[in-house]
């Protein structure tokens, strides 16, 4: 595929080279500065004491990982494996400098939502793929929005860490209570995500009859997506990488009959097809975390569900989710290395 930058340069007067660095679908040349929100960025690549470049790998046999990390001058520990998985999730070449950049992002204190830093690793890899500083301003803000602290308030600032019921309890509702509407109208309340113009991840409270709940929720989620697409940092971090694909991060916060949920969606989309190829929901409620992953499959979406409670996993497989599989959270951080294995149960 031709790069957009090359095409832009071929259109006299249409675009300058400076725009090409920030144009969706393009990446600056190695070492060239990229910017997000006007903040100068460090080069995406740089000198490394030991750097072995490898092509983007579709799969990496487990027995090759220790040798690969050793050849890149990195320890074969969980952080390196998470970093490796993050780069593979972006179809980026595996080199020591990039891995070090991702490990550096993971090491930043109290970051990432997930205790193992997998969110920070994925966002750092995402920033590299998008041509941004892996620990720059956009990375920091999106990390804040998607992590527990950010999604509590929806603005990336520190929160009070409250748990359980949504303290707002409808005060920031968009009017989606049991008013009998079809759920398609944009919200009108302050803080609404329903308008598509609200803050990314701004909370929504739902109290609707049970028979309308699925439809109502399914109408609310696209509003969170619209808000994310309107956010300059979330949009910048979603720029497609060299593969033509990008992960869009969509923070959400809502309550259903007073039970609070927060977290974020990671949506892998294809720039040219303009369709989502995979949707991963990182769901927090109280102190519990669950991961739901959906991707196209024969006969309907493939459903993967992760949580740390084996009893809950069993209950999930007993629900009406045909073909679903379930597993623990531990393997999620290195899912690209594990070939989407590590599931301990199937509904089939």
């Amino acid at each position: 595929m031709k790069s957009a930058g090359a095409d832009l340069k071929s259109a006299p007067g249409a675009l300058s080279n400076s725009r090409a660095e920030g144009t969706p679908g393009t990446r600056p040349a190695a070492g060239a500065p990229a910017t997000a929100r006007g903040v100068p960025a460090r080069p995406a690549t740089g000198p490394a004491a030991a750097s072995v470049s490898m092509p983007a790998a579709a799969s990496l046999p487990p027995d090759r990982i220790p040798g690969l990390l050793l050849s890149l001058g990195l320890p074969d520990d969980r952080s390196s494996r998470i970093a490796l998985s993050a780069l593979m999730g972006e179809a980026l070449g595996l080199d020591g400098e990039r891995l070090r950049q991702v490990r550096l992002a993971m090491a930043r204190p109290a970051r990432g939502g997930a205790a193992d830093g997998s969110l920070a690793a994925r966002l750092a890899a995402r920033a590299i793929a998008a041509g941004l500083d892996p620990v720059g301003a956009a990375f920091e803000r999106v990390l804040g929005l998607c992590s527990r602290e950010g999604s509590e308030r929806g603005d990336g600032s520190a929160a009070d860490g409250s748990e359980g019921r949504d303290p707002g309890d409808g005060r920031e509702s968009d009017g989606r209570r049991d008013d009998g509407r079809g759920g398609q109208e944009p919200g009108t309340g302050q803080g609404s995500a329903g308008s598509g113009q609200g803050r990314a991840g701004a909370p929504v409270a739902l109290e609707v009859p049970p028979d309308r709940l699925v439809a109502e929720l399914a109408s609310v989620f696209p509003a969170f997506l619209s808000a994310a697409l309107s956010d300059p940092d979330l949009a910048a971090m979603a720029r497609p990488g060299p593969s033509g694909k990008g992960w869009l991060h969509v923070p959400f916060s809502l309550s259903i009959d007073g039970v609070a949920f927060r977290g974020f969606f990671r949506i892998l989309y294809d720039r040219d097809a303009r369709k989502a190829e995979r949707l991963v929901a990182d769901i927090r409620s109280g102190e519990r975390r669950r991961i739901l992953e959906l991707e196209p499959g024969r006969g309907g979406p493939r459903i993967r569900y992760r949580c740390d409670d084996a009893l809950e996993r069993g209950r999930f497989l007993g629900e009406s989710f045909p073909g679903a599989v379930s597993g623990g959270l531990d393997a999620e951080a290195t899912v690209e290395l594990d070939g989407y294995g590590g599931y301990d149960g199937s509904a089939e």
Binding site: I256, L292, L294
Partner: protein, 95 residues
């Protein structure tokens, strides 16, 4: 100086993205987008006005803003909804 790029961003749907740039701007700006017949009209107007037109589907697609409604199938959102309802029904999830 301004440019317009037009191409089929997906089968059967023509798309046009109009850009404006001059030296006073820090970067080119997307000033208009159109799809379908509106895109064809926009391209015609641009050609009549002597504005450069570049035909490139991938480029037009990359410049068009993603729309929430077309990105994720509703079926996915319904599954997410059912999973949240499942979680809500678990013991200890009633706040």
């Amino acid at each position: 100086m301004a440019g317009t790029m037009a191409a089929r961003s997906r089968p059967g749907a023509k798309a046009a993205v109009a850009l404006r740039y001059d030296a006073s701007l820090p970067a080119p700006m997307v000033v208009a987008t159109a799809v379908g017949r509106a895109a064809e009209r926009a391209v015609g107007i641009a050609l009549d006005a002597g504005v450069p037109v570049v035909e490139d589907g991938a480029l037009a697609a990359s410049l068009l803003p993603l729309e929430a409604g077309e990105l994720v199938p509703r079926e996915y959102w319904e599954i997410v909804a059912k999973v949240l309802i499942f979680i809500r029904g678990l013991p200890g999830s009633d706040a």
